[in-house]
Every structure is written in structure tokens, then in C-alpha cells.
């Protein structure tokens, strides 16, 4: 069976190999680093939607992942690329004799990769999943942080 677990479900026809997909996904994300304009009303990207913030010494990535157990969220980092993947499961089988009147909440797998504009200090990455929101604090690697150069008088 086809496994629809990769990056761009709506663009299945243009899929290349996995590496092509990864590159296209990253390109798409990088192209949207457009100086912090608001979210587009026509956003139809890949689950989960994320917001990215920058502080002096770190990037902060937030994603809404309600109803997903922390054990079902996997975060990995390779150089400056962070990957979030996992699965949202909803099991109503334990509610015996229940009939479903309305079903809006989705289930399924997700995976997204982001290349950040600077190297990340992998030892110091923090990932917190609280109230259904994933928050990744990704400290910039020391060599990528801006440094003040003192200009000496001659």
C-alpha cells in the first residue's frame, strides 16, 4: 500500500525521491523567511503549522500538536536542520457502545524538516510539549552568534 507519510500530500504527482522532497520542503520553508510578515490567509502547507521566533542567542519553534502524547513526538537535529515527526492517534474503541455524531479531529502521521538560518548547538536544544503545544528552543552555535569587534585606534 502507498504510505502517505511524507512531506507534501497535495503535490504527490511531483514527488521525486526522498532527498528531492526534503530539499523542496526546505526550499519552501526558506522562501517563506520573508521578514516576519503575518501568516498568509491561504496557508496550506504541511502539518503541523509552525511559528518560528528568534532571540539574540536562539531560535524558538512552536507547533500546535494537541492530543498527541509526548512519546509520539520525535524531534531530531542534524547541523542546522530540525525534524519533527510523529503520529496522532485517536482510539474510541474503549468507549463501548458509543456512536460518533461528529468527527472533526484528524488522525495520522506527520513529518516536517526545517533548515534554520544558523548552526544550532545540539547539546543545548530543549523540547517541551505542554498543553498540546510543542516548543523547541534551539540555541545558536557559539560560532554563529554575532560578536562585537573592537576597533582600536592606531
Amino acid at each position: 500500500m502507498t504510505q502517505f507519510s511524507l512531506y507534501r500530500p497535495w503535490a504527490a504527482a511531483s514527488w521525486g525521491g526522498p532527498l528531492d522532497q526534503l530539499r523542496q520542503e526546505m526550499d519552501a520553508v526558506l522562501n517563506r523567511y520573508d521578514g516576519g510578515s503575518g501568516p498568509s490567509s491561504s496557508w496550506r502547507g504541511v502539518f503541523p503549522a509552525v511559528n518560528l521566533y528568534e532571540t539574540a542567542d536562539a531560535y524558538v519553534l512552536m507547533a500546535e500538536l494537541p492530543g498527541i502524547e509526548s512519546d509520539d513526538i520525535h524531534v531530531s537535529l542534524e547541523r542546522s536542520t530540525v525534524t519533527i515527526e510523529g503520529e496522532r492517534k485517536i482510539d474510541y474503541a474503549n468507549l463501548e457502545g458509543a456512536s460518533l455524531h461528529r468527527r472533526e479531529r484528524q488522525v495520522g502521521r506527520f513529518r516536517r524538516a526545517f533548515e534554520l538560518p544558523a548552526l544550532i548547538d545540539g547539546e543545548k536544544v530543549e523540547a517541551v510539549h505542554q498543553n498540546g503545544v510543542l516548543l523547541l528552543r534551539l540555541p545558536k552555535s557559539p560560532e554563529d552568534q554575532p560578536r562585537q569587534i573592537t576597533v582600536q585606534a592606531n
Binding site: Q3, S5, N51, Y53, T55, V60, H101, R102, N131
Partner: protein, 132 residues
Amino acid sequence: MTETQALQPREKRELQGETTRPGPVFRPEVDILERQDGYVIYADLPGVDDKSIDVRLDQGALTLDAQLATLPESGWNPLHAEYRIGSYHREFRISEGIDSDGVSAKMHNGVLELHLPKSAAHRPRAIPVQAG
């Protein structure tokens, strides 16, 4: 190998012109189940905790109101935004009699689980059939 579908991205549904609160208000996605003894409602409320939600049942009208407990800090400079944040609001009409004293709610991982037991008069009863 089991097949699992991919989660489809969906934009949050914003409520228009129904509120006097500042900032956007979103309509949370819900699942509603009915059992013999009552209803169970699950609502996705990412960023909400047990202290920032208000659930009200008044004459068959059920109202959910929730605020974010998890917010971006003021010193964070936004680089890239795909989703908006705001409060949540949704209303339901509950048709059958609910035992309002028995209603219970809990929050876990940004999901509200709400149990609404039917009042005794509205539960199905088995009628014993006697031999004549």
C-alpha cells in the same frame, strides 16, 4: 505493515463578528460521541490548560470559552508564522436532558474531554418481559 494516513494541514476557523473580545477567536475542532448513559465531547484546544477554560451548561446550551495559557514571550522576534493564536469559543445545543450535576471535564495535552451524563429519565431502559 499498517497503513497510516498523513495528517492534512487545516487552517484554524476564525469566528467573525460574534465576540466583543480583542484578538482572534477560533472555533475548536470537536468529536462528539453518544453512549447509552451520556455524551462525550473532545475538543482540540492547543495552548489551553485546566485553569484557562470555562465550560458552561445553561438550559441545554453548552458553551466552551478558553484562553491560551502558553504564549510566545515578548522578547521573541517573529521570523515566520504559519498559524495564528487567539482564544477559543464554541457553542452546542444539547437536545436530551443532561444531568448537570454529573457533568465532568478534564484537560490533557491541549484536549478537553467533557462527559455529559443523561438524566435518568432519558436513559434507555430495558423492560423485563414476564411469562404470562
